[in-house]
Assembly symmetry: C2
Homo-oligomer: 214 residues x 2
């Protein structure tokens, strides 16, 4: 059955980005360490049109996450990476002209604009009615496939608080960031329930997957 | 070689105790859920003079943690559980007359008092010169065996920030507490480094053990 799910890399002290982001360090100081394990997996590289990469537990997890996703939901900050206004045709910052999604992407934003079709099957649809509306549209687009919430933390937290998430995966990276953006704030009372679904481990990162109950 | 180590149970949102502690809920609202996995293990029950209990991955981890500990370091709040002044002879709140340690325990406190010998080999020594002094005394008492920092979060964080910890184990419990006491605040700059040492998992909890590098 179609699921709404997210996964996110987090430091052992619970941050999804480091402190004091700047143009040189858009993920905050030290934040890039959270994603090093991703960039070396064969599955991630393949999905981004690159050769090579490592196999093993982390690659298995990554392949599992990529498989069966019919639509993506993303927050504004993750989408534009803090970019200014876009040209016409737009460049869309770090996603490039041929974004790695190859599927419909629904952006949660306060700025309405027309849907944009990119190369390679990616469409960007701008949803101004909030996370719930974005997930609803993504579910319709995904059909039998899953909806993946790509982040950031704010969109994930809103979806969790609204009881819209079926599966959560947290990649715990062995690093202390000492500050930055927290995951899982303001989830409401009572907060969602969790059941452990699967644990996978490598020397680089531990992958904790949960079923979310309401 | 003798190690300084700690282990602590933490919610998926990074709390080691729930919000709004009161006499009915000394670990905060919902905080008792963090320790349910402990109370059912055979090793923990045996160390507390009780029969029965479950075997399996959680019990294996608990047995490993109990083994080879020569001395314990503990913070004041964890020690007295918010109790008022003690009688003479003291009752020491929830630890009882025959505490489950059966070894020297060094309490980090601002209130000096004489060392107390309890039944069953436990001694309580009150250290007023801070965490570093308490760990130093515990190491001397432990000899070839390990020093275990029992908690709470404040003592653990101080020991980590001072570069005094060799091994950290975090038991991630599948629950959101939504508030309470955070672990791993104020670890200094740069924070300590981490290397994954061992991951163990059960349907109840995931055990992440790390080597701490300085």
């Amino acid at each position: 059955m179609s699921k709404v799910r997210f996964d996110i890399s987090v430091s052992l002290d619970g941050y999804v980005a480091g402190p004091d982001p700047d143009p040189e360090a858009p993920l905050g100081q030290g934040g890039e360490q959270l994603h090093e394990w991703v960039l070396v997996t064969r599955s991630w590289r393949e999905s981004h049109g690159m050769d090579g990469g490592e196999t093993g537990p982390d690659d298995d997890v990554m392949a599992e996450m990529i498989a069966g996703v019919g639509a993506t939901v993303m927050g504004r900050k993750m989408f534009d990476g803090g970019e200014g206004p876009w040209g016409d045709p737009p460049s869309f910052g770090w996603w490039g002209e041929d974004p790695p999604f190859h599927r419909p992407v629904f952006l949660v934003t306060s700025h309405p604009r027309d849907t944009v079709e990119m190369s390679g099957g990616t469409t960007f649809t701008f949803v101004t009615e909030g996370v719930e509306a974005a997930i609803e549209q993504a579910k319709a687009a995904a059909g039998e496939q899953d909806v993946h919430i790509a982040g950031g933390a704010s969109v994930i937290n809103q979806a969790l608080a609204a009881g819209l998430v079926d599966q959560a995966e947290v990649h715990v990276v062995p690093v202390f960031l000492g500050g930055g953006a927290r995951l899982f704030d303001n989830l409401g009372t009572p907060p969602p329930g969790l059941e452990i679904d699967r644990v996978a481990a490598s020397p680089a990162v531990t992958h904790l997957r949960y079923r979310v109950t309401r």
